[in-house]
């Protein structure tokens, strides 16, 4: 096009975008300028439904987002979604929450395998590798991420690295969520377990811990401690935290061999057995909801779970505080995982929706102070190192553990909500409930994991 025509066309296009001429007028004048009508129509399409959007993304772009946040943190995620929708009305966000664990990952896998998955989804960091290796995820474009203020320097190096498979980034971390301990401040005070400033006195070693729980049990008349046992992955998290504190490993780094140290494992399992069977300071047959109900209503002094239930207890007005998982065996570890954003593989990528996905991820990361209210430790360093996060209680009490957490062993069958967690939790539950001795439970656990190791990998 000759420069004058180009200039005149630009003027027309600007007028069109500002809404000062109608489409018909635009078409007529651009054709009069000598532009073919089809080219004029193409230009018209580019102006879309009129009105510029601040993000440059066409108005009315549909963005589908799947997550698995149903607990106390789910409320915060909905808040962040609303914040995003308000800030970006040009994007039509459709957020869907699915049940945690198997129901979520099976659907995500099938949707990605069929080529029509959500535009952006949540994945645990430990479940991401088999999905990436199975070609169910698209890698991130680092330049596009940088445009939205997401770079390697905005995250702790280990967590940023974990999101990479074969040198490409498949997962942008949102948070780290460790296994922590909640305690009822009033019950702990009556049991004499708090110091002058109201913080928990240090408890060293397994016997001291059981004694502290017994004191709490005397105050409540019910139990000292509660945690989910029936059919729940919490069994594995408790075991893995304690076993790691003793220095134990489950799988070799390449994920091909079982390297469980029997003595350390039995030490952990015997202590756990003591809690429910010998000293009976914790209920043996309780499920996820039951354990929450027990702690929320003040019928037990201590509660073990991930930090995501903080909102639940704040809503229930339970007088509580949170601290890192007790260092019973000295190593100081606790089990954790991370939530990340992933891009499921699309049959054909719509550039507007892909752009909207990057914008969405960036907005949520910048808004993750809201997410921190739900209990999680934000991965985005500008938020995690901010003063307001440091002042957030009780969340900042356990923020320091992020460096010392242990994640599930790496293998194609492993990760949060995986078959691995299911087959190891079952014998541990049987041990808690007295149906198996710790030795029998360990034998079954090892046999089940070995069976998974012997199975040919489907990815």
């Amino acid at each position: 096009m000759i420069p004058e025509k180009h200039g005149a066309l630009e003027e027309l296009a600007a007028k069109m975008r500002a809404g000062r001429i109608s489409r018909r007028a635009f078409l007529e004048r651009s054709v009069a300028l000598g532009l073919s009508s089809s080219a004029a129509l193409t230009l018209l399409e580019a102006c879309a439904s009129g009105g510029p959007s601040a993000s440059g993304i066409p108005t009315g772009t549909h963005l589908v987002y799947w997550n698995l946040f149903g607990g106390g943190d789910g409320v915060r995620m909905v808040q962040m979604q609303d914040d995003f929708q308000k800030a970006h009305p040009e994007i039509n966000l459709e957020a869907i929450t699915l049940a945690w664990g198997e129901p979520y990952y099976t659907k995500l896998a099938m949707a990605a395998a069929g080529g029509r998955p959500p535009d952006v989804a949540i994945s645990h960091m430990t479940r991401m590798p088999p999905f990436a290796q199975g070609d169910l995820l698209d890698p991130f474009d680092l330049n596009a991420l940088a445009k939205y203020d997401i770079t390697a320097s905005d995250f702790l190096a280990p967590i940023w690295q974990r999101g990479h498979i074969n040198g490409q980034l498949y997962a942008v971390p949102l948070d780290t969520h460790p296994f922590v301990m909640y305690y009822n401040t009033e019950i702990a005070k009556k049991a004499g377990l708090l110091d002058a400033s109201g913080n928990l006195l240090p408890i060293n070693g397994p016997d001291a811990f059981i004694n502290a729980l017994k004191k709490a049990q005397q105050v409540t008349g019910g139990y000292g401690l509660a945690f989910a046992i029936n059919g729940d992955v919490t069994n594995w998290r408790v075991f893995y935290s304690l076993y790691s504190q003793l220095g134990g490993q489950v799988l070799s780094p390449d994920g091909k061999q079982l390297v469980i140290d029997d003595n350390k494992a039995l030490q952990a399992l015997s202590f756990m057995d003591d809690l429910t069977q010998k000293s009976k300071v914790a209920p043996a047959t309780i499920d996820y909801g039951g354990a929450i109900a027990l702690f929320a209503s003040g019928k037990c002094g201590f509660f073990w779970q991930g930090e995501w239930e903080v909102t639940t207890f704040q809503t229930a007005n339970t007088p509580f505080n949170m601290v890192p998982f007790p260092n019973i065996f000295g190593g100081g570890q606790c089990q954790a995982d991370s939530h990340t954003f992933v891009l499921p593989r699309q049959a054909s990528v719509d550039p507007a929706r892909r752009e909207a996905s990057y914008l969405f991820i960036s907005s949520l990361l910048k808004d993750s102070f809201v997410w921190a209210h739900g209990g999680h430790i934000p991965a985005y360093l500008p938020i995690a190192t901010s003063q307001e996060y440091k002042n957030l209680k009780p969340q900042s009490n356990y923020a320091g553990v992020a460096a010392n957490v242990v994640v599930d062993p790496t293998a194609w069958f492993s990760g949060s909500g995986s078959e691995f967690e299911s087959v190891v939790s079952a014998p541990i539950q049987a041990s808690f409930q007295g149906q198996l001795t710790p030795q029998q439970a360990l034998a079954q656990l090892k046999a089940s994991v070995q069976k998974l190791l012997n199975t040919p990998s489907p990815v």
Binding site: D135, T285, A426
Partner: protein, 319 residues
Amino acid sequence: MSDISIQEQAAKAKAQTGDVLARTRANRWRVDLAGYGFLLPFLIAYALFLIWPAILMLRMSFFNWSLDGHGTTDFLGLANYGEVLSDPSFWQALWNTIVFTVISTPALVIISFILALLVNRAIPAKGVFRTIFFAPFIIPVSVVTIIWSWLYEPGFGLINGTLAEIGIQNGPNWLTQPGLAMIAIVILTVWWTVGFNFVLYLSGMQQISRDLYDAASIDGAGGWARTRWITIPLLGRITLMIVILQIIASLQVFGQIYLLTAGGPNFSTRPVIQYIYESGFSTFRVGFASAMSFIFFILVAVISAVWFSILQRQQRGNN
């Protein structure tokens, strides 16, 4: 009529019958065509969504087929079938399924029969009782399991709470004791689905003529005798049908077990369908799961065939 000879009468009758027959034969293929035409939409859907996927599943079972689309050319021959048949988890799941079927089927048949007997009497508010017994059947499985998981909750669940009130302090651990968990599931299933069999039995009973009962009472038969010798035999065919349907449905149990105990405690209630689902969708091993599916399909088909032949023999016996 008298002046037409017998031969002529016979010839006329033959001609008339011939006409009718000709009309019927001509119409028959048209009638058949219309019938198939009406069946066609269903047949197409059936072929597309049941038969074709079943054929694909058979094909998948011979490969190391993965959910993410890999392994489709990794031919394994019968290795998947061998692995299924030598997998102790499969046999345990099969055993759990059979235990569930063996316990729940008699319960669902006998209890529904008794309920139908009770409601069939000339009692006031018959309709109310019919509704009460059938109503749980229309509740979806997720709602039923939420209700019952709170009923079974140890400590403060309604069942153990009531037992504590009447003096039994340490109520049973319904969902966490390996033997008891299956009983808990059967109780839930009976409460939930007895209404269906109940309605079938009730309609069958209402078709039995009152005269039979009256005649029997005149002859001196008491209540139990009347039931034993009139009601039960006359409901024989319905009973057989209910038993067949119940067995086939029970073998395919999945929903309430998955939601209530997730196959626990320690896999003691996990049915075959759940193991197939976990192998195929959680562990991504679609080939292995397909082999297991096919083996289980053969099993259910054999059991159905056995019961069907019993039904056929009974029908022939009646004729």
